[in-house]
Subunit: 382 residues, 2 copies
């Protein structure tokens, strides 16, 4: 509805037509769509798109679609692909958006949206190139939209991809006043011979590494919100329960729960680029809905299990706090939440130390979770 | 939430975890997310994805992201790009989805979603490669989701692109019972030197061709629904008012209003491929929200007007019927609806007849709408 390709202005809404019909009768505006607010929102967000645009982004304002040069022959930023495979995925932020709305904090949910997509894509060895967002909402509040897109743009900057466009759809009959939904779409590229498909490569003895999450990330928020309501937790209160976690200590619960999903693109892409010939990574998994047991299994062949030692890392106190207040079963916790591990790598044993070192030097907290053993394609938490 | 890359099954939801927690307390299911229904929906829609997959689609079930080979060297389906530009866009179907819900007809709205995206992309000379859909909804009704994705798959088949994946997000707190929103993302490719950017190339004297729409397409449905309510029109009634239109005659109003958006990909892509060296097309526009005056202008340089003769085509009776019942001003009609013209081409005068012929032979109804003249970048309806 409010098309935003290449930070396009809504040029078509001010194309010399009268602002109001010259005789009474139904109009588009009267049927509930606020064109001026849409225009203003588009103006506000243009700079957020532009700051993610490198020289590979082509095209002008007002284009129907965003354009991105795949190969790039100029000396700076040179990129040339021999047999490029496009990798694409879409994901939303789920009901975390309800928490953002409830708290009136809109500038980080966009990073969650980017994270959910780009973290999925790097699992297959891809490097994110471009991103587009879709926002469905009740009514455009330009300043709020600007905050949302700022967050998307922040996420794109962290992931090193271009925010190529987006769409804002004002649908007052679908979304309640104040509500919105946010979905994203990412495209990346990987050389055919560098595609990672864990199913085939994982062998017994491979080492499983886990990268720390920043918190709940973007899954399980229906349950989080049920716990908050059930236990009458106060979102504006700083709880001591998670004071031992340096990332969460001293922050209000709502703020901690809105902590944006960590984006693992740069450490993972840089790690993969570092190995020109050798292939030390046999599989990876982004830990989303389904938790460790429901995502790490996606990297396993049918005759291999992932044996994960629950004592190999400390579950962050935030999760224990939620578990206690919701009286949630331990298995359910691991099935719904990341429990502190946001991303996993399955690594050839010979390379495990080197890979862990590289990731630590890239700023990640790395845990050796366990190893691959003969089995049935399952994740065994022991 | 219910991830559907590469028709992936929700393998992570049945990964050997107990179905229910072993002690009382909050669970993810109790917090409102129906995992079984999600599983069943994913099963039902797999075949719809697969039928759009050619040999360029890679990857297995359960992958985190869909994969598509850009170059393809095998003899059949050979494709090789010298300097490929990725073209990407996102769009939803707006409140047309409310009409589909109201009528309980869910199997064509997906084609609308594909059309809104791929028709945007071909404007820049691109050939659509892949598509992903996002459905946000109150609660997964597997058979209904299957209908929605069937429509998306139909659209992809018409557009010749692969439905590479999708996402179904169950968000009972955002969407009301029975409601859903549908958005799509498309990626295509065009050789750098074949990119069409009308802004630069359109010259006075260029001929403007219009391709017939199939009806209201996917814009202006807030106004359509306001008219239906205002005039107490009956969606299940066959009105004589549009009996002169062979496409709409004898059909109930609701059915006519749900007629899916025409997809212009094959005639346009085939037309462009036919000209290896010459570049007869100086600009194109997909007629969406904003109508002819608000979209054709996006193909114009700042010193050129498009002079469109309103008498060069007959506005389909459906639009006059809506106008009469809504007492809608004529300019407002042209600003909101396509008025019978769904896609426009600006063509070098020397090639106008040949281009129109080719499009007619490809099954399109072509109108010569007018021509480019010196001006201010506006569309002048005369």
């Amino acid at each position: 509805m409010f098309d935003r390709p290449n930070a396009a202005a809504l040029s078509h809404y001010d194309a010399g037509m009268p602002d109001a019909p010259t005789k009474p009768g139904l109009t588009y505006a009267a049927s509930g769509v606020d064109i001026d607010a849409g225009d203003r929102a588009v103006d506000l967000i243009q700079s957020h798109l532009r700051r993610t645009h490198g020289p590979r982004v082509l095209g002008k304002h007002g284009a129907f679609a965003g354009m991105f040069r795949l190969d790039y022959n100029e000396k700076l930023f040179q990129r040339n692909y021999k047999d490029p495979v496009l990798v694409a995925c879409t994901d939303g932020v789920g009901t975390k958006v309800k928490l953002a709305i409830q708290l009136g904090v809109h500038d980080t949910i966009g990073q969650d949206c980017v994270a959910m997509n780009v973290n999925d894509m790097i699992v297959q060895g891809a490097e994110p190139l471009l991103f587009l967002d879709y926002v469905g909402l009740h009514k455009v509040v330009p300043e709020q939209m600007e905050r949302v897109v700022k967050g998307v743009s922040d996420g794109c900057a962290i992931a090193g991809c271009a925010l190529l466009g987006g769409e804002t759809a004002e649908m007052p009959d679908v979304y309640a006043a104040g509500d919105y939904d946010l979905a994203g779409f990412a495209v990346g590229v990987v050389e055919l011979k560098k595609v990672i498909e864990g199913h085939e490569r994982v062998e017994p003895g491979d080492v499983i590494l886990g990268l720390a999450s920043s918190g709940v990330h973007s899954n399980g928020y229906s349950l989080v919100r049920a716990v908050v309501e059930h236990a009458k937790l106060k979102l504006d209160r700083v709880y001591d329960d998670y004071a031992d976690d340096p990332l969460h200590a001293g922050r209000a619960l709502g703020d901690v729960l809105l902590e944006p999903t960590r984006i693992y693109v740069k450490p993972i892409v840089s790690l993969l680029r570092g190995y020109k010939v050798k292939r030390p990574i046999s599989g990876m998994a982004h830990v989303t809905g389904g938790g460790l047991p429901g995502n790490l299994n996606r990297a396993l062949p049918p005759d291999i299990d992932a044996k994960v030692d629950r004592k190999s890392w400390d579950v962050p106190p935030l999760f224990r706090f939620l578990q206690r207040h919701g009286d949630i079963d331990e298995d359910e916790m691991f099935r719904v939440f990341n429990m502190g591990i946001g991303y996993t790598l399955i690594v050839r044993p010979h390379f495990a130390d080197a890979v862990a070192d590289k990731l630590r030097r890239a700023g990640q907290t790395v845990h050796v979770l366990g190893k691959a053993v003969r089995g049935k394609g399952r994740v065994r938490l022991v």
